[in-house]
Structures are given as C-alpha cells and as structure tokens.
C-alpha cells in the first residue's frame, strides 16, 4: 500500500531527523564534489571550479531546507525550535516570567476553581440512571410552597399520571442502626417500595423492597447502606435474609446499597442514609399529614413541561379529608431533580463564573502589557533576525509559540491555584452543595483550563516590533 509506505517514511524521518539531515548534507556535498571534479577536468583552477559549482547549484542552505520541507516535519522542527528558544528567553528574564506566569496562574486558576464547581453542579448529570428523566414533585397549599406530600396525594397522583412511569417517596428521620452492639444514631429513610430502584438500578447485595414488604403482616425488612453494612456487620454477606434486632423489634436485612450511592436531593437532604424500610402507599385516608419527598421518573418521550401541565390538572382532582371537595388552592410543582437541587446556588454560581471571567480578562491585559514592554526591549533581537532573513510570518509564529508556552506554564500553575481555591470553596460551601463530590479529577476541567490558556495567549501581542527607518538603518543592529 502506497499510503502505508508514505506514513512509514514520514515516521522514519521524524525519529531519525538528525541522521536524515546528515544524509541530505552528504548527498549535496557529493553533488558539489562531482561538479568540482568535472570543472577541474575541464581546466579550471580548484578555487574557480568550486565557485562555479556553487554557482550552478544555487543556495545550498535553501535547497536543503526545501528538501527537508518535503519530509513534512518542518513545522514540527520549527515549533520545537521556537519552544526551546522561548524557554531560553523566559529563563533569561526571570522577573518577567515569574510575574507573567503568576498573573496567568491566578486568572486561570480562579476560573478553574469556579468551573470545577459549575461543572460538578450544573453540567455533570446526577449519577443516577436516566438522570435527565428524574423529577421532584412538591406540594403547595396557600402560601406554602415546596412542601412534602401526603401518602394520599402520592396515591392519587399515581392513579392519574400518564407522564410518569414511577413515582416514589422518601422521608428521612433519625433512628438507630439495627443489629447487636452499642446503639448508633443514624439517618433512617422511610420509603415507598419503588423508591430506591428509581435512583439506583441494582443493590450491591440482595434485593430492594417489593410490594409485599410493605404489608402490615409482612416481616419487617430493611435495606442498609454500604457503610452501615460494613460498620455494623463487618461486610458479612451472610447477613442477608437474617433477622436482626432493631430497637425493641427485629427486622430482616434484605439488601445493601452500592458503596458509591449518594443522595443529591434538595433542601439539606442528607447525602447518606443508612437504613431504609418500606411503608405502604395508603390511599384510603384523604387529607392526612404531608411527609413524603416525591421523586418521579418520566416516561420516555415525556418532559417536565408536560408533567407540570398534568400535575396542574391532577391537583384540582385531589379531595380533602372528607372526600367530597377538592382541596382549594392545592398546587403540585414539578421540577427536574438536577435543576431543583441546585436551585439556590445556580444564580450565585453563574455570577461568580462571570466574575472570574473578568478577573482573567484583567490578568490577560496585564500580561499583554508586560509583553508589549518586553517586545520593545527585544527590538534588537527581532531586528537582527529580520535582517538575517527571517520572514515576518516566521517571527510571528515564534512569538505565538512563546505566548503559548507562557500560557501553558501559567495553566499548569493554575491547576495548583485552582486546587487550593477549590479547597477554600469546599470549606465555605453552602449546605445545598454538601452532597456534591467536587474534588473528583475531571477531564472536562482539565480541558477547560488549557482551552483558557490558549484563548488567553490569543490576547497577547504576536506582532514583532521592527523598526527599519531609512534614516537610522543600522542603529538597532548595534549592540549597546
């Protein structure tokens, strides 16, 4: 295959660039020697023969460069060359380099930190299956909004809904861990039997609740968090199906949640609940106190807007305690679980994100000024290079590479700054962010940081300062 041969040739010249260049040099030298020999044979003096050969050949350096260009790695060689040169010139002005890099590190680092939070809270979907199809349903009455719902309301909504294929409820209270040993106070989740499967596809061990576990005559069953199972029962798998002491009664452990399962529910909801048991959804008692957080799973093809319209209709059909009249002013509000969870911080986060954007702009402006001052100081260098034949494009490329190098080093330092800033944010975060795992290394954050660096370097001056006034042709070439 021709293209595989070509690829192989290109790779060879990349990795054996030095040898290939030497060969090219030898090849040209051989040619010149042949021509010189021929010229001498024709009667020229050695000196004249050499000059004549050089003349017929043309510019040796240029020919070699043109030949090397055909190897396809010229841009790479020049890029590497520019990088080396850029690193050297940064080392030569450590004051400038330190200030520029620190400025960039602060500017980019602040963005990295805030973006980490934005990414974790607003962009990354909640770690649940079908996270985009999960909704939270709040009950509201009169001036009360975002209230928990009664089992009767849940029953009625379930009866009528066409937009949700599952609606479950949970209430978290305090309780103790089941099993022998010192009583340990933990969070206990009282759930409908379908609640856990909505958020967690399968348990780490055993099973979740089924309808029969809700019954008044069924043995009391509990599901444990992974942590509780490890702490209380030493991660003993044989505990499944066994009856353990639970307060004054006893309960059968039927399942264990996965280790990484967490709750991301709004309003100070704890992220870890250690014990769950199921209660029936009783539709026989209209009225009744509200106590359930309702989480719904939308049917395929449905969306929050349609679910809300349906909930509005259902709200008018739910009767009050005597079963005859509608509850006046009952409202059901459907929000996407993700949006509702971060409702309180969303605005603040976006504001902060905008703010650090401006910090970066200011940082870039400062570094751009430093670079401008530096380019005037480098007048001698650029003028000499231009005089030696470097094209304007080549000089611009060199400056672009240097700027990119500066920004890349700044971005590396920014990762450190960002990490420190993130620690500070974590220490001061509002309760609604407590559940989020913000310190997970994330490729998106890394990519964002380096993208910022590239954008930042685009702000910088990439125009070489050259002065070639006819009145003072050589003044900039002189070394002072």
């Amino acid at each position: 295959m021709l293209w595989t041969q070509r690829l192989w040739l290109r790779i060879q010249t990349l990795f054996r660039g030095g040898r290939a260049a030497q060969h090219l040099h030898d090849e040209v030298q051989f040619h010149l020697d042949q021509q010189i020999a021929e010229n001498i044979a024709a009667g020229m003096s050695p000196e004249k023969a050499r000059h004549a050969a050089m003349r017929t050949f043309g510019n040796v350096t240029l020919v070699q460069e043109d030949a090397r260009r055909t190897w396809g790695w010229m841009w790479f060689e020049q890029f590497a060359q520019d990088l080396r040169f850029g690193a050297r010139s940064l080392r030569q002005s450590p004051g400038f380099a330190t200030v520029a890099i620190l400025t960039l590190a602060l500017g980019i680092g602040a963005n990295t930190a805030i973006f980490s939070v934005v990414n974790a809270v607003l962009l990354r979907p909640l770690p649940y299956p079908d996270a985009h199809r999960l909704a939270i349903i709040w009950s509201g009455l009169g001036s009360v909004n975002r209230a928990v719902a009664s089992t009767y309301e849940l029953f009625e909504i379930r009866q009528r809904t066409k937009e949700f294929d599952q609606i479950g409820g949970i209430w978290v209270t305090n309780g103790t861990l089941p099993g022998e040993g010192d009583p340990e106070q933990v969070k206990v989740g009282i759930v409908t039997s379908n609640f856990l499967p909505i958020l967690c596809p399968r348990p780490a061990l055993g099973r979740f609740f089924q309808a029969q576990d809700e019954g008044p005559n069924a043995p009391w069953t509990v599901v444990l968090s992974y942590g509780a199972w490890a702490r209380r029962f030493g991660s003993d798998p044989s505990i499944l199906g066994k009856s353990v002491r639970y307060g004054a009664a006893s309960a059968v452990v039927i399942g264990v949640l996965p280790e990484d399962f967490r709750f991301y529910l709004p309003g100070g909801f704890p992220s870890n609940v250690d014990v769950f048991y199921a209660v029936p959804v009783d539709g026989s008692q209209p009225g009744g106190p509200g106590w359930l957080h309702l989480i719904g799973h939308l049917r395929p093809g449905s969306n929050i807007t349609r679910a809300q319209a349906e909930a509005d209709a259902i709200a008018t059909q739910i009767h009050n305690w005597d079963g005859n009249q509608n509850i006046t002013g009952l409202r059901l509000s459907v929000y996407s679980l993700q949006a509702d969870d971060v409702r309180e911080v969303r605005g603040t986060l976006l504001l902060l994100f905008g703010g650090v954007g401006f910090v970066l702009l200011i940082a870039c402006a400062n570094v751009a000024n430093l670079l401008l001052a530096r380019s005037t100081r480098r007048l001698h260098e650029t003028t000499v290079r231009a005089a030696l034949g470097a094209s304007r494009g080549r000089l611009i490329r060199q400056l672009l590479t240097e700027n990119l190098l500066l920004a890349a080093i700044g971005a590396l330092a920014a990762l450190g700054v960002g990490w420190l800033a993130l620690r500070a944010i974590l220490a001061a975060r509002p309760p609604s962010l407590l559940n989020f795992n913000l310190l997970t290394p994330d490729f998106t954050v890394l990519a964002f940081t380096f993208l910022l660096a590239i954008l930042a370097s685009a702000f910088f001056r990439a125009r070489p300062t050259l002065r070639r006034r006819p009145t003072e042709p050589d003044s900039k070439l002189e070394r002072r």
């Binding site: 041969q5 070509r6 090849e27 050949f57 020919v63 055909t70």
Partner: protein, 109 residues
C-alpha cells in the same frame, strides 16, 4: 544563442522518473543525464533537483540507497518503486496528450 529553457513547470517529476527508470542513479548523474539527452536544451536548476527527489521519495514513487560509485565514493542512488513506475506511465501519457495538443494548435494556426 538563447539561454537554456527553464523546465516546463511540473515536468521535472516526469524527467526524474524517466531518467532513473532504466537503472538507479544519484542526483548529480540525474542532472547530467537530463542535460545530455535533451541536447543541453533543458538545464535542470541543479539545486531544485533535490527537493524534487525528496518529495518523490516521500510519495514512495522512488526509493534510495547509499552505494559506492565507480570511483569508490558513497552516493545516494535513486530507483523507481512499483508505484513510481505506474506514476511514470501516467505522467508519460499525460505529457503525450499535452504535447500532441500543443503541436496541433501550433501547426494549424
């Protein structure tokens, strides 16, 4: 006496391929050969030969080998690859068509 004509743009590849189609040659010999055969009319700008050779090599139409010349010096010899032979046929056909067309125009007017 006119100056030797510059090579018609783009025909250098064809000349190189043709010149080494019979036996491997080094760069200097290729330049000499082209000049000789064409009766000194075509003067290859000697330097421009090398970028062309390297480009053809990167296209895998020709391959090179370092070997000794008759005088015992090491030189880089170029020879055609199978792909190069096919390319030579293609370019020869193109050239024939082009020169026939030009003949036609020149002779009828």
């Amino acid at each position: 006496m006119g100056k030797p004509s510059d090579l018609v743009q783009g025909t250098l590849d064809l000349l190189i391929l043709k010149t080494i189609s019979l036996e491997p040659k080094h760069g200097w010999a290729i330049a000499k050969r082209i000049q000789q055969i064409s009766g000194e009319v075509l003067q290859v700008q000697q330097g421009s030969l090398y970028p062309a050779l390297h480009r053809l090599e990167q296209k895998a139409w020709i391959k090179s080998k370092w070997a000794e010349t008759d005088t015992g010096r090491k030189a880089k010899f170029y020879s055609l690859t199978a792909g190069g032979r096919a390319q030579l046929e293609k370019e020869t056909a193109n050239w024939s068509r082009l020169s026939a067309a030009i003949d036609l125009v020149v002779e009828t007017s």
